[in-house]
């Protein structure tokens, strides 16, 4: 548990888990882990035995007046690189809370999260933004497209934050949109698209930066069953293609079936953890 107490790595948001870091075998400097053993394996090479996501003894409490809500308790979890991991559980079991801790949206009350060797729970705001920019993709239940931007601009947005020139990022966005079957809707605005189409834009946006990890919180929650299958196929295919790690939150067992592994939560604790074959 030494890494939880170690000071935050200074250059930690850069090379260690960047998509192309595999081409640079010696990115170990990015890891501030004192243990030489882990440092040696920190190149984030696909063959590396190190998990993509490491969660240790995570606890999240919410204080509401006099009441303490323990949303998560004693969560320890390793998610391997390239794994599609489903966080499964009924409503209120703490799935979204766990996802938010993993993605650095909230600070845990206790315990730590490390993604690609970076201690997420210790990053400051600026480092977090940079970290998300480079390594994280999001798919939201309610799509969360910007209403003022068309499909291409929405998909190109994360690239814009990274400073990619307009021509280049829109070309990449168009290519992504064609792959999700929206080649004819490139200039449509969110209000002109169905839920399924919007979620496909959302998926294109999440994957356009080729992030190491994509978090999806109930991505099919608002869709009909036929569209759900399309969307899940798409997420799985993208992930397989680039060996990306997916953390999928759902309360729908049909969706959970797409995962390599199902972690079941109940009242903020892991009650089941099963790996499954496709």
């Amino acid at each position: 548990m030494a890494w939880l107490a170690s000071p935050p790595p200074t250059a930690n948001t850069d090379a260690s888990i960047a998509p192309d870091a595999s081409a640079v075998p010696d990115a170990s400097g990015a890891l501030a882990t004192p243990a030489p053993r882990t440092a040696r394996h920190s190149g984030m090479h696909p063959a590396s035995g190190r998990p993509m996501i490491e969660v240790r003894n995570l606890r999240k409490e919410y204080v509401m007046g006099a009441e303490h809500v323990i949303a998560l308790d004693r969560i320890s979890l390793d998610i391997a690189r390239g794994q599609i991991c489903c966080i499964y559980g009924e409503s209120g079991s703490g799935k979204s809370t766990l996802l938010n801790q993993l993605a650095g949206m909230e600070r845990p009350t206790r315990g730590g999260v490390r993604i690609g060797g970076i201690v997420v729970s210790r990053l400051d705001e600026r480092e977090l933004a940079e970290f998300r920019q480079k390594h994280i993709g999001f798919v939201f239940q309610s799509y969360n497209l910007l209403p003022g931007l068309n499909a291409v601009e929405n998909v190109a947005m994360p690239l814009m934050f990274r400073g990619v020139p307009r021509e280049e990022r829109e070309a990449r966005a168009r290519a992504m949109l064609r792959r999700v079957g929206l080649g004819k809707r490139l200039n449509h605005y969110p209000s002109q698209m169905s839920g399924g189409q919007q979620q496909r834009v959302g998926i294109a946006r999440a994957f356009v930066t080729r992030p190491q990890v994509v978090f999806a919180d109930e991505p099919t929650g608002n869709l009909d069953s036929k569209t759900k299958v399309d969307i899940m196929d798409m997420i799985r295919d993208f992930a397989r293609e680039n060996g990306q790690t997916i953390v999928l939150v759902t309360h729908d067992e049909h969706m959970a079936a797409y995962a390599d592994r199902i972690v079941t939560l109940l009242d903020g604790r892991i009650v089941h953890d099963t790996e499954q074959d496709e």
């Binding site: 979204s96 996802l99 938010n100 993605a103 949206m105 909230e106 705001e125 600026r126 933004a129 940079e130 970290f131 998300r132 920019q133 480079k134 994280i136 999001f138 939201f140 239940q141 309610s142 969360n144 910007l146 209403p147 003022g148 931007l149 947005m157 994360p158 814009m160 934050f161 990274r162 400073g163 020139p165 307009r166 946006r205 919180d217 109930e218 929650g221």
Partner: protein
């Protein structure tokens, strides 16, 4: 994030809420217009002052009028009056002071009658002759209206309007003079005309060209009743001339001075010559006059630039002289103008302040509306720095656009004000209103917008907008990314 992307996003956001953007920009336009218009009125006062001062003559001239018996170093050593006499030595002392461009003693001779023309029919009963040290002509910055500069011993110059001072003694009294154009009214209504009003269209040249006509200087004699009469004056009734009386002497004017009230009356009406020339002249026309009457009545000192007038003037006072200059008046005029300008500027600033509140309001609303968008952007990796920049660019754009439009509108307002003051649209009026005309008195503009005012107004509007956008931008920065995700439920 690139700046070009920030600008692009800003444009999209401003267009998305068109009417609100337009109203906010309008607020800035009004604020900017009021500042520019108010300050332009202030600069208009400056221009009017400048033209008024120009009519007062050279402002760098100090007139030393005599001994100062109440103070000065002369008093300190007990020999005050001795040192404080205006004589050649004093003039030399003045000339050696720092910042002094030139100095000359000054003599006024009033006992002359000037006549000219065939049979000396044109007469100036009250001819003023002033004499200075002509070697100081350039150093004192005398300006010529026409003719040539004095370059020979004995050259005589006439004032710009001297020729208008002559009456034609052979004409009836009601029509024996010519008016200077500047004394005529701008325009007369037919009713006024019936009562004898004459306007610029009635302007006539003087009776003779003073540069080509010899002038006879004669001595005036004070008769018993105190009236001045001349030995060379013709009597209008019989048309006879007194040319034979022997005391008149003829001179030829070589150049016409430009009127400059700072440098003596002779620049406008009278004759100006060297002191030696005047002495010769007086010796001829008035042999009995004591040489003492030609002592300096004053000295003129010209300072290199207006900023040092006060300095030089106080030094001369310390030497024991009394002085006068336009500095006091200039100071109080400046002070008055400044306070008017401050008041006007203040009124304008209040309007811009109101506009600033409008911008702040718009930006606050914009942030509130876009909380979700901001959350999404943050979740997708937009840095806090970029979010702040996004809102500041928007606020700044409102300021720049409002400022530019405001400047254009102000230019039109200013044009309209000036045209109204000139009394209508005409090619000449348009030229005055746009380019200004420093030499024509009636062309002084009420509203003057110097180029820097446009630059300042746009910069100021932008700055105010940025300042009012700063609070909301920081509010946007604090929107948690989690809100975007939370809204899933």
């Amino acid at each position: 994030m690139r700046f070009s992307d920030l600008v692009h996003l800003c444009r999209q956001n401003l267009f998305r809420r068109k009417s609100r953007t337009i109203l906010t920009v309008l607020g800035v336009v009004v604020g900017c217009c009021s500042i520019v218009t108010m300050v332009s009125l202030g600069s208009g006062i400056d221009e009017q002052n400048k033209q008024m001062l120009a009519s007062m003559g050279d402002l760098t001239i100090i007139t030393v009028t005599g001994a100062n018996n109440t103070g000065g170093m002369g008093m300190a050593d007990g020999s005050g009056t001795a040192t404080a006499r205006i004589d050649d030595k004093a003039v030399k002392d003045f000339r050696s002071l720092q910042y002094v461009a030139g100095a000359t003693g000054h003599v006024t001779y009033l006992d002359a009658i000037l006549t000219a023309g065939p049979a000396n029919r044109y007469v100036d009963q009250n001819g003023v002759i002033e004499a200075i040290d002509m070697t100081q002509f350039d150093a004192m910055d005398y300006q010529l209206d026409s003719g040539r500069k004095p370059n020979r011993q004995g050259d005589v110059l006439a004032g710009q309007y001297t020729a208008y001072d002559f009456i034609d003694s052979l004409r009836p009294e009601s029509d024996n003079f010519r008016m200077r154009p500047s004394y005529l009214a701008d325009s007369c209504t037919p009713e006024q005309r019936a009562e004898g009003c004459e306007d610029k269209s009635d302007a006539q040249d003087p009776f003779f060209n003073i540069l080509t006509t010899k002038i006879t200087v004669g001595a005036a004699q004070t008769d018993d009743s105190g009236n001045v009469a001349s030995s060379s004056t013709p009597t209008a009734s019989n048309g006879q001339t007194a040319e034979g009386s022997g005391s008149g002497t003829q001179i030829q004017v070589s150049g016409l001075l430009k009127e400059d009230n700072g440098k003596g009356q002779a620049t406008s009406s009278g004759l100006l010559m060297d002191i030696a020339t005047l002495k010769d002249l007086v010796a001829k026309i008035h042999p009995d006059a004591a040489a003492g009457t030609l002592a300096y009545d004053s000295a003129l000192v010209r300072v290199q630039d207006i900023d040092h007038v006060a300095d030089v003037e106080s030094q001369i006072r310390t030497m024991g002289f009394t002085t006068s200059s336009s500095r006091d008046m200039l100071d109080s005029l400046k002070e008055q103008t400044r306070s008017i300008q401050l008041i006007l500027g203040g009124i304008g600033a209040v309007a811009l302040l109101v506009a600033a509140i409008g911008i702040a309001n718009t930006m606050v609303m914009s942030v509130t509306e876009r909380v979700r968008e901001i959350g999404i952007m943050k979740a997708l990796g937009c840095t806090v720095h970029d979010i702040r920049a996004m809102f500041l660019v928007e606020a700044g754009a409102i300021g720049v656009i409002g400022g530019v439009i405001g400047c254009l509108v102000s230019a039109l307002i200013s044009l309209a004000i000036n045209l109204i003051r000139y009394g209508g649209v005409s090619a000449e009026h348009l030229q005055w209103a746009i380019l200004g005309n420093g030499t024509v008195d009636e062309a002084a503009r009420i509203s003057v917008i110097p180029w820097w005012l446009y630059v300042f107004a746009i910069a100021f509007a932008t700055l105010i907008s940025l300042i009012s956008g700063f609070g909301p931008a920081n509010k946007a920065v604090r929107v948690p990314a989690l809100d975007a995700i939370k809204s899933n439920q």
